[in-house]
């Protein structure tokens, strides 16, 4: 006899009908719920894009999950197991409900069937182990970022029962009606042997089987519904939503167009769920409350009131109830949005490809644009004096007073245009970094110049939500920069670097932007600079978020430091933002601790003599922390440029 798949053994026909009905009902429920929900959020089928990319990204996402081995493996097991079991069910559907019924033919026979059984048992086992691991994790291991809700228990129970009942059923079937190829379903087979040993009789088996079968079938239907009603919907929604990448900020308007048409759509930014874009709504719904974003958040870590998970969850909850509820103050506290350093760690950590920062900036934008509510005086200073310090415009060139640097005249040409940035122009300590960069450029024989009338780059304005001020500044700068001929725009501030590279470029301000770290590395690699001495100190490096997270620029600084320090270069064990971005350098938000202190302590774990940084804000933040912690004499904080400059002689 050729092995083939048995159908509905021991099953009364009414049970089969109930099963079919339940599946049809479940599918209707699933699609109706999904349909109405996404329609309510403004999704249209025409917005469905890049499905192939999303499928490809699924693997990346699973890889991201694996950064937490336990949770990651559990999820991967459940997901892969479920996926294969789903395919298996589709095969059965095709064979039984289409081929057998309409064409009287089948394909799950012989070797194909036996392989099918093996694969299904393997998948089932993986799935079951994954579910078990997840249960143990939620019930006993309890990682701090996981918040157990009823929903989680229900989902895990459904999955556990589905897996367990499937195997037991298979075991009973093989115990009371053995087939020669039974061992192909190896899990079921082992169980059947156990059942035989425990003395399972044919009658008892026949009695239990239909109920087990039906409950298994109904579990399938319930699971289908759960994919639309519980957090399992993160899976279908993943395909519908759009991931807003960290580095590309969506803008609510284009200033020249507004000035031309004399029209502006209000309100600007996010105050009610209705003011979220359709994809922001869908993404919020896809949040599984895993807390990975929270774990990566420097503000949360420092005991600030902000948690990106809570932001997304609160939006998701409000969204379900009403699209017209004010979010700020009753649901989301103002302090929450102003504690954010905009470092984007949450965005990078989210496996559901949600961008929590996107909501925070939207909320900030509403407060800033429509109500003028922004903390601190930095923006006012920028508005009046074109720099966040509020220092006189004429003092901007103070850092280069005696350096005799070429100042570009209109129409004149230079290879490298050095954009110094407010911090390195005004702050006494940071001026030294700019002066050092100049020294290095001279040493390497680079043809460079500065602008006579450099100004604020607008980064802070954008991060704080004053999009108007940002765009005013940006368009002014783009116009200014286009008057000069240069090949490379060199920056010392990662915030300036990023805003030119990723934000200006969205508005027709495309420049070849280099971070000073990138540029110094290039000079070293081209042999234009040569490291002549070795660093005798133990050095560690703190990545600026705007290089690491926004621009993936992590290799260059390490190459430089390896060249300079060799084995004396040690990596800090974990990564967090120093707290200086998104306004953190300009006003302090309430919280138990300060992010810069915690980050400084992270670096101390490897006992460095020297902490290398590549951002003016980081430098200020670390020096401040070193002072506060009493390490001023013990640990130095220096920009990589400063470290290198000393080794070139």
């Amino acid at each position: 006899m050729l092995p083939s798949r048995p159908y509905f053994t021991f099953m009364p026909s009414w049970a089969v009908s109930v099963f079919y009905l339940s599946v049809v009902a479940a599918l209707i429920f699933f699609f109706a719920k999904m349909f109405f929900e996404v329609r309510r959020y403004g999704f249209k089928i025409s917005k469905l894009k890049n499905i192939n990319v999303k499928i490809k990204n699924l693997l990346e996402t699973e890889k991201l999950l694996l950064t937490d081995i336990y949770g990651g493996v559990a999820h991967t097991f459940v997901a892969i197991g479920l996926f294969i079991l789903f395919l298996g069910t589709i095969c059965v559907f095709i064979e039984y409900d289409i081929l057998l019924k309409f064409f009287n033919t089948r394909f799950l026979t012989g070797v194909v069937y036996l392989s099918y059984e093996v694969v299904m048992d393997v998948a089932g086992l993986i799935f079951f182990l994954g579910v078990l691991a997840a249960i143990v994790r939620r019930a006993f291991v309890k990682p701090s970022r996981l918040i157990n809700r009823k929903e989680d228990a229900v989902i895990l129970f459904i999955l556990l029962y589905g897996g367990l009942s499937g195997f037991i059923m298979e075991g009973i079937r093989l115990a009371i009606k053995p087939v020669p190829w039974g061992s192909a379903s190896f899990v079921g087979y082992i169980l059947s042997q156990m059942f035989v040993l425990t003395g399972l009789t044919y009658n008892l088996g026949c009695g239990i089987y239909p109920f087990l079968w039906l409950s298994h079938g109904l579990t399938l239907s319930v699971a289908v519904v759960a994919f639309a009603f519980t957090k399992l919907k993160h899976f279908p929604l993943y395909f519908l939503g759009v991931q807003n990448p960290l580095e590309k900020w969506v803008t609510p308007f284009n200033l020249p167009l507004v000035l031309e048409s004399k029209k502006i759509e209000v309100p600007l930014g996010v105050n009610k769920p209705s003011t979220l874009s359709w994809d922001q709504k869908i993404n919020a719904e896809a949040c599984v409350n895993c807390g990975r974003c929270e774990e990566a958040c420097p503000a949360y870590r420092a005991g600030k009131i902000l948690s990106p998970r809570n932001i997304v969850q609160k939006i998701s909850f409000t969204l379900k109830k009403s699209l017209n509820k004010e979010l700020i103050s009753s649901i989301i506290n103002e302090d929450e949005i102003w504690s954010c350093t905009t470092d984007g760690a949450c965005v990078k950590a989210c496996p559901a490809l949600i961008n929590p920062l996107d909501y925070i900036v939207g909320l900030r934008r509403y407060q800033a644009m429509n109500l003028g509510k922004v903390p601190g005086s930095a923006l006012f200073n920028i508005l009046v004096r074109d720099n966040p310090y509020g220092l006189p415009r004429s003092e901007r060139i103070g850092w280069r007073k005696n350096l005799d640097i070429k100042v570009l005249k209109e129409g004149e040409e230079t290879d490298v245009l050095y954009w110094v940035g407010c911090a390195a122009s005004y702050d006494a300590r940071l001026q030294k970094v700019a002066q050092t960069v100049v020294k290095i450029l001279r040493k390497a024989g680079v043809d460079f110049a500065v602008l006579k009338d450099e100004g604020c780059c607008g980064e802070l304005a954008r991060r704080l939500g004053d999009e108007y001020l940002f765009q005013e500044i940006m368009f002014r700068n783009i116009e200014k920069l286009k008057k000069y001929k240069f090949r490379i725009l060199l920056t010392t501030c990662p915030h300036g670097y990023n805003i030119f590279k990723n934000d200006y470029s969205e508005f027709n301000g495309k420049f070849k932007v280099y971070s000073h770290i990138e540029f110094i590395n290039k000079l070293l690699e081209e042999g234009k600079l040569e490291i002549k001495a070795n660093l005798s100190k133990k050095v560690t490096y703190h990545d600026p978020c705007y290089l690491k997270l926004y621009n993936n620029l992590t290799q260059e600084p390490r190459k430089i430091l390896m060249k300079a320090a060799g084995l004396k270069f040690v990596e800090t064990k974990k990564f967090y933002c120093c707290g200086g971005g998104g306004g953190g350098n300009w006003f302090e938000s309430k919280g138990e601790q300060r992010p810069n202190i915690l980050r400084f302590r992270d670096t101390l774990e490897v006992n460095p003599d020297l902490i290398a940084v590549a951002c003016p804000y980081c430098l200020s933040m670390f020096e401040d922390a070193a002072k506060t912690e009493g390490y001023e004499e013990k640990v130095e904080v220096k920009d990589i440029a400063e470290i290198i400059s000393e080794l070139l002689e």
Partner: protein
Amino acid sequence: MLKIIVGIKWVPDTADVKFDPVKGTIIREGVESIINPPDLNAIELALALKEKYGGEVYVISMSPPSAIKGLKMAVAMGVDKAFLVSDRKFAAADTLATSYTLSCAIKKIGSYDLVIFGEETIDSATGHIGPEVGEMLGIPHLSYVTEVQEVDLQQRTIKMVREVEDGVEFFQANLPVVISVGVGINTPRYPIPLRRLLTELETNKYIETWALNDIGADPEKVGFKGSPTRVVKVIAAPMPARRLEIREASGETVKLFIKRLKEAEII
């Protein structure tokens, strides 16, 4: 309902103004102008009173047309309407002519309960304007007000506080009054970006420009003609540079700080 008029001056950012000791003139080229910073305190007080009692806040400025930029900023802060009082004939006014022109403009606005000025300007710093305008309008005036405690709209009275070196003075006056407010009595609010943008899009809706004829001023009393003051000479009087920066407060630095203050005969 309170109707408040605030006078603001569009001044060069004096931090950037350099003095040419040879020519004895001030170098103003390339220097950006700003709203006279103490006037922001005046605007803030007016807006806070409006929030408390309801009403309207108007801003006036006797300035060249470039001051529109400053008026837009004032509107963005929440001011209902701004009037630019601008005419070539107003040029080279001293405080008398300036006060006369401003009082004509205020009369043109008509009814008002409160006229608020800044303490003084950063470019001339006479502090004359408030009192002079009060006299010209023939209503009570008070300078260096640090707090408006209460406005009684029924009785039409206002209670004010002035902190002086050796105490606190309390005043009550009948409305309308002219006051000038102490520097730094409040923190001026951030100009609402959307309102700033709207002012840019519909400037005429928020800002009106008045020339000599519009305010019905006597041409003989404005500008150079109406100014009895003559500047004979400007000299730079160098001040001894004293600069002490304290960046942290440990026991040592506090001791150092006190020592330096003693050395400088400040304490």
